[in-house]
Symmetry: C2
Subunit: 568 residues, 2 copies
Amino acid sequence: MTSDRQRKARARRGGTSVSYETAHTLSRRQRDISVSEFFLKNRHLLGFDNPRKALLTAVKEAVDNSLDACEEAGVLPEISVDIEQVGTSRFRVSVTDNGPGIIREQIPRIFAKLLYGSKFHRLRMSRGQQGMGISAAGMYGQLTTSQPTVILSRTGAREPAHHVEVMIDTRKNQPVVVRDRRIDWRPEFFTTGETGRTQRISHALHGTMVSIVLEGNYIRGKLSVDEYLRQCAVVNPHLELHYRIRLPGDGAAPWIRFRRATERLPPRPAEIRPHPHGVELGMLIQILKDASQRTLKAALRENFCRVSSRVAEEICRRAGLDPGTRPARIAQGDAERLYKAISHTRIVRPPIDCLSPIGEEQLLLGLKKEIQADFYTAVTRPPAVYRGNPFQIEVALAYARPGENPDLGAEDPVRVLRFANRVPLLYMSGACAMTRAVASANWRNYGLSQPRNSLPLGPMVVLVHIASVWVPFVSESKEAVAHYPEIVREMTFALQECGRRLAVYLNRRRRQAEAQRKLQHIEKYIPHLALGLKEILALSERQERAVVNRLRESLERSRLQLSNRGKG
Amino acid sequence: MTSDRQRKARARRGGTSVSYETAHTLSRRQRDISVSEFFLKNRHLLGFDNPRKALLTAVKEAVDNSLDACEEAGVLPEISVDIEQVGTSRFRVSVTDNGPGIIREQIPRIFAKLLYGSKFHRLRMSRGQQGMGISAAGMYGQLTTSQPTVILSRTGAREPAHHVEVMIDTRKNQPVVVRDRRIDWRPEFFTTGETGRTQRISHALHGTMVSIVLEGNYIRGKLSVDEYLRQCAVVNPHLELHYRIRLPGDGAAPWIRFRRATERLPPRPAEIRPHPHGVELGMLIQILKDASQRTLKAALRENFCRVSSRVAEEICRRAGLDPGTRPARIAQGDAERLYKAISHTRIVRPPIDCLSPIGEEQLLLGLKKEIQADFYTAVTRPPAVYRGNPFQIEVALAYARPGENPDLGAEDPVRVLRFANRVPLLYMSGACAMTRAVASANWRNYGLSQPRNSLPLGPMVVLVHIASVWVPFVSESKEAVAHYPEIVREMTFALQECGRRLAVYLNRRRRQAEAQRKLQHIEKYIPHLALGLKEILALSERQERAVVNRLRESLERSRLQLSNRGKG
């Protein structure tokens, strides 16, 4: 027996009275959970685990969106990232681009609604995949600072610019517009000269600026925004990037400029239809249900890639189905037979023009621009397929001479830079197939020392890039690539090819150093040689000097030859 | 200029023609993505990475739901898990419980709608947290086999049972009922005797059966359904569990019975309100907005735990706010001041009656029931708090004599069994705070050998359990606990306490073994001793035998004393 007072006391302690449920009381507690509420409570899943990572994730989502938008619109991207600390652990992140802009009606949903976007329902290579990132960043900002996301956008010279401020109603996963006006605005980009003077260096007639205030923490180093942007510049050599971070007491922070190394936009990847061998039974049924075609044969041909009329007929024959049947009828009954028939039919691999790798030339441009080293090489593998999805692996190396690059210690493990669809991956390297592929290659074969099952040691950067219509990440914060055997195999091949080239370089350098050492040795003896000759041949001082000079000249020639051979 | 034929050829290859987007064409591609579509594409996030794990995850979600339902309704749980292989890589998983049942109207949404449930919006310790699991299992089954989820349920003796079959419309994240009828059914439980005869041993008048056909793979071992259920029985000693797996060619598979070790249901954990120190600014604003109270003071007192009128007044005073203001007004303007004031106010830690640990006694019961060993010990720590959430750590050890338990090798790393709110965690042990805590403790102090930074070696099982109103998992497949320092610290304390007790046992055993060795040594010499005595004292053969026997008896007595001391 619980008295009222006891119950009240318990209620004050925070507990409520304990009584058992029945099916009926349980049913009254059942409720919908909005996807925003879910990810707000589980925000670590989207990369907002802690203030440091949150700052990086917000920058990353905004920059990825800007790059995707520019490339889709065929615009050479120019982007500025402006970070300002506005409180003890509070930062304003503003990212401006010269992209196509966003029409007014779409702004609220793009920036304040989870699971809304253009990239989820298609098979095309792009940085974004989910339609979550930028809204999640805004939601995190709102949770921690209660500030709205501010968006400025303009779609062309003759269009007005819009200033829209949005918050997200997490109960409903719907945007709430808190401010909305037309303004006079265009994206502008700044740089700080060597004299410390900041000036506008360019502007555009269309583009978008997004600004989010959030709880963050700025620490330099491997997991910092700085590192992220530097790596971004490496794999996007067509990007012109401006970056500034203003911390209290830092004085006038300068704009850092990452210049583009090429004016060539990457070729625009094509969208593809799903490959029949990458589709599960349930998906097949959905496709048949949705099909607008009137016959099974046409539905197979039009909704999948690599299915010609002949292939479609073969599939129907194997399944014992009439090619003229209505697709929706198959969905209800014979889908499983159709599914089995598909898996037993030989179908050409998916097309590969949907991939846009960086390319060996551009990779070298990017690496040379940002990483000081002596030897560079790059390999772009031919496309391959995992679970019906085309993908392509690229690997590049930069190897520095001793002391050439203070970031690269001769005794340290090599630095691995990981990229997926041109986006740098900073966190979770231990869980990533790329790191494992680098550690699994046998670098001793190529002249590096390497502890068992670990990264090799040396003043080297290894860059690994996967391009795919659907990158298989191990979590939706998109930080590590899953271990598909097909993907690991391609990485291994590319690493081996780069390794062989590295071995050639290291051997040559070793031979060269050896020869150099010999020459230096000889040089030491030239004066003694000349002295001996002088005594034997009774030369004058002047003749002795001439002998020394001639010997030096001939030595210099062979040295030159050596070093030219070295460069060849 | 692309001719029609070229375009057609390209379309056949699977590509579509490439043209750049504008803000307007881009906007037409923007679409809502349903949460089902999202998790269907990203199903590895929910534990459906591969067929083996999918089978385990489906069983796990169903059993967790059954246990939660039974405990909420105050019913001693009896559950049967029946797995049947029905195709090459196809399994039917059927889980039956004697829980309260589910009323007909709720069945479709509970089993075929993601993010729907009773556990997300409350702070109460339970196995389920998200309202995702069982619907996700059904969705995976539907994707891979196109079979509906079948549910039988009955809420009481006088109620009809319902047979409902549901599928999920992934475009809308809505259930579709494909069959619905009243039937005559009640949950029944079976066992197979030693003679191989299967018979019904019990039934209930309410309960639920859920059956899902899915693509799966059954492999025995550490990550198997068998192991999951065995561990379930360890930490739920009040559970009566029946398990059968029917594989083709296996003949009549027997029901395996895990008997309950106690008739005592765990005390029902209370629901608590959030603690002010665990709430972010955005959440505080939401609470104030939703508050039905008319004053700020009342809103603080009624919506949070540990806030008395006095504490509420102190918070208002610090924030410079009138305690009589309407809460919704604060939400719009001064929430940040209020938030800061809360963080500077001392508030008692959250209540702990919301936790229901297993308890040392029950832990020992569970361990002894399922793991053959010589020494058992268990520690339940007092409750602690991380980020405003109460939690409690329990650790138990079982140490076997050499050769006593074939599963536990003397030279192998110890086995770590991990549990969160009584649910076994099988995957991702490397990423889990529990594994790290065990490897970080200094087991050499307690008499075990231990490689650097690794698990100790020995014939031992270490069980770690966290009970919390909100377990911080590293991913929503709920397989590893995040590294909160407060949580790791509590684990370390509990492990050290168990370690000290283990050291006492191991020392005693060592001394005992030493003494035993001495006794055996003496025993060897008894016949020689008797022979000597016989010669000296000129005893008869009979007298010699009597001497030997007396010496043996006295030796036996000291051996008994030793071993009794050992058990004390």
